[in-house]
Assembly symmetry: C5
Homo-oligomer: 354 residues x 5
């Protein structure tokens, strides 16, 4: 899992429009994929250089440029020029460590948030920054890595799904964010299933491993919550923002998005409480076991302590110990000892110590 | 109890108007029941096909169509067509795993929330999704299962109760939601009674079972709270929503609904604190018992330790131990031992260790 | 203490205007007391039937009808008719298990909240539902039980206190609510005194009883808080409500009421934190005592363990143990033992174990 | 420390304008001090009777009447008459147990809050109620006790400080409240210093006293927080109140006051968390010590248990124990014992038990 | 780390415009540095006296005066006069112990907040108060110490960075605050890295030192949170403030600043929860270790207790103990002992005690 906050001394005091990519390079080459469509036409291509896009822009269609990899500042600068963006906007795109946010600029909106994806093989959650620049006709999405997470949207575009082909860049924005939020729900749901499974093991076999598992899950959940919560704030701010590029016709979809991200948030809170309860059960089971052990030790010791003492008494070498020479002393001693032991047991029974 | 969050990988990236039922099929066949009424007339029937409803619609009456079972997408699609609904609306109805919400569409409102019902036989709580589509004259309610939970409302309609027969679809909506909220209150009340009963057992007989019971109740309460809280938000949003289909005349009823759901919420919070306190009592009782045991062990051991030591001393086989040959040594040893024991007891008494 | 939430299965789905009293009957017969006054005139009487009130109504005075006992539905229905109230209003009055609320109806306001009173003899707190129906000239108050809690207000009316005799039904409402809130403050103050007294005992004599007392107080406080908090919300909503029947002239009084109920709320929170701290002190005292005991056991055992071992060594019956036959062996053994004991003591001293 | 909430049964149901002083009389005689000033003139005097003030009133200056002692209802009533106040206002002044509040009456504003002062000798915090009645030209301040807490303000007036001499009653109000808030900060700061000092002792010498000190500080802090928080609410409500007597020119000062009281509130919260952490350290230190002791006991016992057992074996008096007669048995026993002891030590070392 | 709250008795009751520096003098001499620039011209100098600034003021450029050291009241007074400021403003600048705040005065705005910087050598965090006085053309920044924290901004001005040279004092304010917030992020990030490193040690080697480290980090984090939270409030209030000197063109930058400070706040919260979880792991590891030890002690003692007892029995000196004279008694005793020991081990095994 990535570190929650990274900030190097070198970054302090930089101009807000300086184009410096502070993240790790996760891909060899920046890849540019373009889809251009309206309700009837569709063209899709991989671009070699940014300037090739000119063929697509300015038409009365929706142009979606997807950029995988942020490390090549030259490409980024070119995008800025081609789309006439403020360098401020691109600097924000490159600042992959920032908080999810929606900023409205003069001629575009910027939406950034964290994208989660679960690596099914390793079970690890990958975090990646997603930025979306949104204008009237153009949507540019930036991912750190080459991923196929948006493939379902491309499929829907290709299959002529009515809604997405008739919608503008705002509907496309919704479709992308919807996938991100669905991934949140999915990641939390997978973790949630592990947590609910853990619960059964907990009662059957409370080994020490469980505590580390609980703590692992707790930490992962904390991490997810800190991703989901600001994303929720951001998504709620989109509809409030009264942006020029998001029309009222998509309100109903963004409302749904709000409900979904709230659901993700609720689920994270819910599982967090479950984990706290599990920790409680674990501690109780452990301390109840310790109780049993201590009780056993006590009962056992306490029964033998006086018996051993009596044996010790008659092991002394005094010359005049009248009991020693009496013929049945040894047997009487045994009887006394058995009476003491039984008495003790009855006493403990009454005290409900075992 | 159902899992709190389910989200499969396949669902990610679907178009929001795709009609796919993701829940479990809980009923063999979709059942359609219709009641059509105004203040004077009433007709009630079970429909075979959706199209049979045409006979009822368009009249100046309130038409309530109740649909049990969501798994038959064809039927759902037919409903969409007959009532001229957006497929978006129906997709929401089928998405039974979503958060309680109220969405206003162009020609209808959609209200979804979780319905709780207590199975008296098993003591288990069933969760089911309820969706209500609301237009000027038509109310369509969707349940996952065939249930008789709304029977009292049907009874009130049949018995010509003035208010419900004169009211519109908005009053009918209130009546249905009122039953749902009453069920929340009932389920919490039944759980609350168990919790209050537990309290008495806790002090009399703090066995280990109690901790599992407390944890069971806690988990169930957590689950209920996560159902009730978003439902509360949703119900408060209804009156704020300024919907076309909910008139001011029902404001006083929705206000009452708000108070009731707040009451349910308060009660859940209240019982949660009670459970926390019970956990506290349990831990204190247990640790106080352990204290007693350890004290007893200490007092007992500490008294015998020096006595056994003394006996050991005179069990040594040294040739020259002057005390051994003295005639009253043995008796003196006993006296010394008794003095030591009494001294110890007084010491512990002063220390208030028993 | 009454159960926090009661909801029977039978209540689910009832029409909101059905007049059914769900509480316990606490009084034999419904009692009706009337006071009618303006700044100069005053008449006071006990009514036999509701219709007798006609003599009082319609005059230009303030009419206060106090109803003790809610179980007689016939009487309630008569009141509804005489004062031309919606049956909804009366149904709310009978629903004594509801949350404190203020509802504005067309021709009246309804205020309901819980009334607390302390039974000085038993030290128990009684909870009772109070409903106030408020119109321009008439105030009807409903209590479950015959109580003299409003007697001071009657006294003030009788004694021609300027303010109350010149005020309208809104001032009278304030006067009644003021008494209710004063009772909240009183009940919390009495409990608070017990809690502050407990604190001193806690340090002197931390017996096991204390924990049960703390838990009793905690539960009672929880209960009070759940009564006070919604009452606070309700009282704050009165001034916001912009009701027709509450004039601006009483604003300053309702502001005071808000401050008082906030004060009650603060006090409940304050005592709650005190109780948590007390629980902490208790646990610390107990565990510190256990520490002492275990330390004592350890020090004591550890000193005698090697001594007893040495004695055991020379209690063996080997034929050739050279020390046994040496004349001063026994005395040397004693000296060695004393040295070991002192060494141990010094070691523990250095370790600060006693 | 004073009790947080006092409410006697007798107070319930009193008319809100009844003049009854419920506090303790803290001073022999009510003292009246007057300062009258504008930017050029200043007169200062101690009044014998309230009516003497007539000489000062009605002039176009700021008149500040300070009243020490509230127990003489006759004097209070006279003040009411001389300044033409509603008896409601004075009843509020006498109700010293109320929550900090600002109430706007027709011809005056009332501000009440708790004043804290630290008795440097005893280290105790005194709580006193301060009420300020504010009109266009007159400010009346009521204290329960004769105190010199406002002396710095008088000094500033006497020394012709420009701002205070040019300001109106609103600036004077600010100056008085500023002193009160400064005292809050001072009291919290002194307590804070103790808490920060405690921290160092905690690590060096975690005696049982520390826990009582932590609890004392915690309780005192709780008490302070419950004083500061409503005072903060009150001060924030002053600027919102849009009062006739507080002009915009003092806005910047009241803003500062808000910041200061927020700072006091923050500090109290900060120290509260510090105390919680200290409690944590204490518990950890204690339980870590107990761990050490138990480990020591275990290691020590476990080493000697088998040795003592062996000695016991050869202390038996069986007639045929072959080892007994073997010449080097005794020495072999010692060697075996030493090997066992060393083995045990190595085992514990590997287990990292010491 | 500096104390959180300092307030001396002497400060109480001072006039709000009195110029008294209450902090520690951290620098020998007050240093004045000036930069004056517009998009084309730039002059930079160190001033000897405040009056030298007259050469720069009144021009149509941005004038930035940086003051290091606050202890020389005479200099401060001169600044007040030269820039025609209210002494109130300067008194606020000198009050370095106040809460972060933004105050709007008639002819200037004042922004104060805490500046954090990390001393890389010692690892300690330095706290310093920063005040910024802002007018149309002049920005005066006050630091307690001579620091080079703002050097990057100076560099950007010198290097003719377009944005800063074209911006007004409001953009310069943003640039300075941006550095402060970046330092917050940096300090928290460094602490966060330590905390995440600690986590790994925790599981490998849970020594007692860890608990002190956790507590150190916790305290430092608490301190940071109490710095960051009011700074966040302050920064959010800047954009709301509708100040004359902050133009809309910088809105997008202040929005970014809000996101950054929120990110800092989130990170602090995140690490706080991590620390709580670590404390939990530590406690669990420790108590699990104690459990192991106690189990070992119990098992070991319990096995030897009956064996030692048996040996004791046959060490008694009774004259008639039939077993003693039987030839194989000794060997039978050994066999019995071994059987008992094995039985015990099996019993413990079944109980899962080791």
């Amino acid at each position: 899992m990535a570190r929650f906050l990274k900030k190097s001394k070198q970054e302090i005091g930089r101009s807000p429009d300086e184009l410096i990519f502070k993240g790790d390079q996760k891909i060899d080459q920046v890849q540019l994929r373009i889809i251009d469509f309206d309700s009837t036409n569709l063209s899709e291509d991989a671009l070699k250089t940014v300037s090739d896009i000119v063929a697509f822009q300015h038409k009365n269609t929706v142009t979606w440029l997807n950029v995988d990899g942020l490390h090549n500042t030259a490409v980024m600068l070119e995008i800025t020029k081609v789309f006439d963006l403020d360098t401020l906007v691109m600097a924000e795109v490159l600042n992959t460590d920032a908080r999810p946010r929606m900023i409205e600029y003069d001629n575009c909106d910027l939406i950034t948030l964290k994208m989660l994806s679960l690596d099914e093989a390793t079970g690890k959650t990958h975090v990646e920054n997603l930025s979306i620049i949104l204008t009237e006709n153009v949507l540019i999405s930036f991912q750190e890595n080459r991923g196929d997470v948006f493939e379902p949207v491309r499929e829907r575009i290709r299959k002529q799904k009515k809604r997405i082909r008739n919608g503008g860049t705002d509907y496309l924005t919704f479709a992308l964010l919807d996938i991100v939020v669905d991934n949140y729900l999915y990641v939390i749901s997978v973790l949630g299933e592990k947590i609910e499974t853990l619960e059964e093991n907990l009662l059957l076999n409370p080994s020490e491993k469980v505590i580390y598992q609980i703590n692992d899950y707790k930490r992962e959940l904390n991490f997810l919550r800190k991703i989901v919560k600001p994303a929720k704030e951001m998504i709620f701010s989109i509809t409030k923002a009264d942006s020029d590029f998001i029309t009222e016709s998509t309100d109903v979809h963004f409302k749904e998005l709000q409900d979904n991200i709230s659901h993700a948030n609720d689920a994270a809170d819910y599982y967090r409480e479950i984990l706290s309860d599990q920790l409680n059960i674990y501690h109780t089971t452990i301390s109840s076991k310790l109780n049993d052990i201590i009780k056993f030790l006590t009962v056992f010791s306490v029964i033998f302590i006086p018996l051993t003492f009596i044996a010790g008494i008659y092991g002394t070498n005094f010359e005049y110990v009248p009991e020693l020479s009496f013929k049945y002393s040894y047997f009487i001693m045994w009887i006394v000892m058995i009476i003491i032991a039984i008495g003790m047991l009855l006493f403990f029974k009454r005290k409900k110590w075992f």
